[in-house]
């Protein structure tokens, strides 16, 4: 009986946690983003004009939108209460971010089937990791509401300025525009993700005014 109560209470806690962070809307948004990405990728690949880089816009901006949903879901409506809690918060923050990223990575990777080294699932997952890490970093520094902004500006700028050659330092700084397995791009995106997730788990998001 007690165990049942406990389980019932923990489910209730999870449900409350999810609702307070707007997770149902974030889930729905991630699925919608993936569906939109799948449709756009299919349309672009089928179009005769766009050859090798047909899926670039999808692989660059799909993860960006998903990371905006993940980043803005990191807000807490009861910051002071949370800080009074007895248990440590970092495992919950970690689980929240990793869980949402895993879900987003799964649905987005499914949106670009075939040719993983040519703006396919690999690039999608890499860009999602980088964008989520960047958004988490921004959430720690600026607050969850503005967490999407720095990545948006950076990605927009890189999209318009990335060099056409895919060698050298450009693979590192223009990582969202690389077709797939380039090590430099993975190192940058991975570092962003690890640092972002780590800092968020450690510090939590910055308190925001109204």
């Amino acid at each position: 009986m007690t165990a049942l109560n406990c389980r019932g209470r923990s489910t209730e806690t999870l449900r409350l946690y999810g609702r307070s962070r707007g997770l149902p809307a974030a889930f729905a948004f991630l699925l919608l983003t993936a569906a939109l990405a799948a449709w756009a990728a299919d349309w672009l690949v089928g179009h005769p004009h766009y050859g090798y880089g047909a899926r670039v816009p999808v692989v660059v901006f799909g993860p960006l939108l998903a990371s905006a949903a993940v980043g803005t879901s990191l807000h807490t409506p009861s910051d002071e209460l949370d800080r009074l809690s007895v248990g440590p918060w970092w495992p919950r923050r970690l689980a929240h971010l990793l869980g949402l990223t895993a879900l987003a990575g799964l649905v987005l990777a499914l949106a670009v089937p075939g040719e993983p080294d040519r703006y396919g699932a690999a690039a999608m997952v890499r860009n999602l990791l980088g964008a989520t890490g960047g958004s988490a970093l921004a959430a720690v520094a600026l607050g969850a509401r503005a967490s999407w902004l720095p990545m948006c500006l950076y990605t927009g700028s890189v999209y318009l300025s990335a060099p056409r050659t895919r060698t050298g330092a450009a693979t590192s700084w223009a990582w969202p525009m690389q077709p797939g397995p380039e090590p430099g791009a993975w190192v940058t995106a991975g570092t962003l993700f690890v640092v972002g997730v780590g800092l968020h788990a450690w510090r939590g998001v910055r308190r925001e005014g109204r």
Binding site: L44, A68, T72, G156, S157
Partner: protein, 440 residues
Amino acid sequence: MRPSDSPDHPSPARHPHGVNPLISELRRGVGPWSALAIALTMGATLVVTADDLDGWQSSWRSVSEVLQPLGLLIGGPMSSAAGCWHGGRERRNRMGELRASGARTPIRQLLLAATPSALWPAVGYLVAAVGALLACSPYAGWGSPFFSVIVVNACALASLGVVGYVIGQLVTWRLLAPVLAGVVFLCLVVPAYVGPEPHWLNPAYQYTPRWDAPLWWYAPASIAWTGGLGTAVFLAYAARRRAIALIPLIVACLAAALLTGDDRPWRLDPNAARLICDDGTPQVCVTAVDQQLLPQVSYALSGVNARLSGIPHAPRRWVDDPGRLQAEDARLPSPEFHSLRGRLREPEEYANWAVGQLFQECWSTHGDGASRLRAGWITRGLVQWLAPSVIFGQGAPWPEAKGYVARLDAKTPAEQRSYLVDYLASTSTDICDPAEVPVP
């Protein structure tokens, strides 16, 4: 001493220059940061792309060509998101209730509140645009920047900011700002993906005005189009009588009809397309927009011209405008596309490209396979001999063409000249037969 004149309660008459509410609105909130973000992001993108093949510092035209999509694709989403943020913040702070108690009418108060959302993104764009123009000015040469296009872009950004502000006031959703930014980006980008026709209604449409200039009504019509839409959205939200929003909407629709009508808003500018020639033989003629590059182009082609000079069927002029080629003119590759910051990028490759264009017509169309192939190798060898390219044969060995280059090099000047006479005679007939192309 009047009762209100105590040190704690100075009378308003003593401070006639109190803080203007507009200044105070402009200084606070997300506005200045959005301007800074737009200016810095545009600046960084411009710096990174400055050394690209089509470097934007080459001419006034190339800089305005790059400022338009860059400003709108970076500034547009940012402007609408910042407006949305600002509007949402006013809603969260329940400014509406405070306004209801104010003495001024709601529309005047909202106008004041929305001004930063319109003004700051435009300021950010203008700062970046002025920086780009200054960076371009030492190399730009002929003409002047299209200031009207810059104003059009700034107006589009201001309108997007106002629309974002209204949406932020109306909708409660944490993800609204990034989603709005994404939607604006898609609306600006998708028309470019869907079709090649000009989209004069899309403020981010990148027009490549090689020799074109906007007509006088392009800027007013574009401003009426984007500004009218922004004003209509604002009035529909803020005005007491909403029907008044129909007036700017009708203005916007009229402007849209004008922009999409049969009259193209950009036309050929005869001054820009004017030919400027040197006095060599063959003459080298560039258009006025590239006139500062003429000495370098002449120098790059001097070796070729020395060999072609006086030979029958050799071109009389090199001309950079396919629309005005006469019978004895050869097409000159556009110097602007081969230059960076006022210098021809690689003069040898430029000359090689020009000679390649001169001879390409014969061996690629008529005749049977074997003779066409042979004529192709001969032509490649001849082009390389006339204007040597560093990258000749890189990637493909081309032993036949290299053999022809060696044979041409081994000849005496008189033999070389007579071969050129024969070659040009064989390729200058109306229907060029590859079998007739002489072997060096």
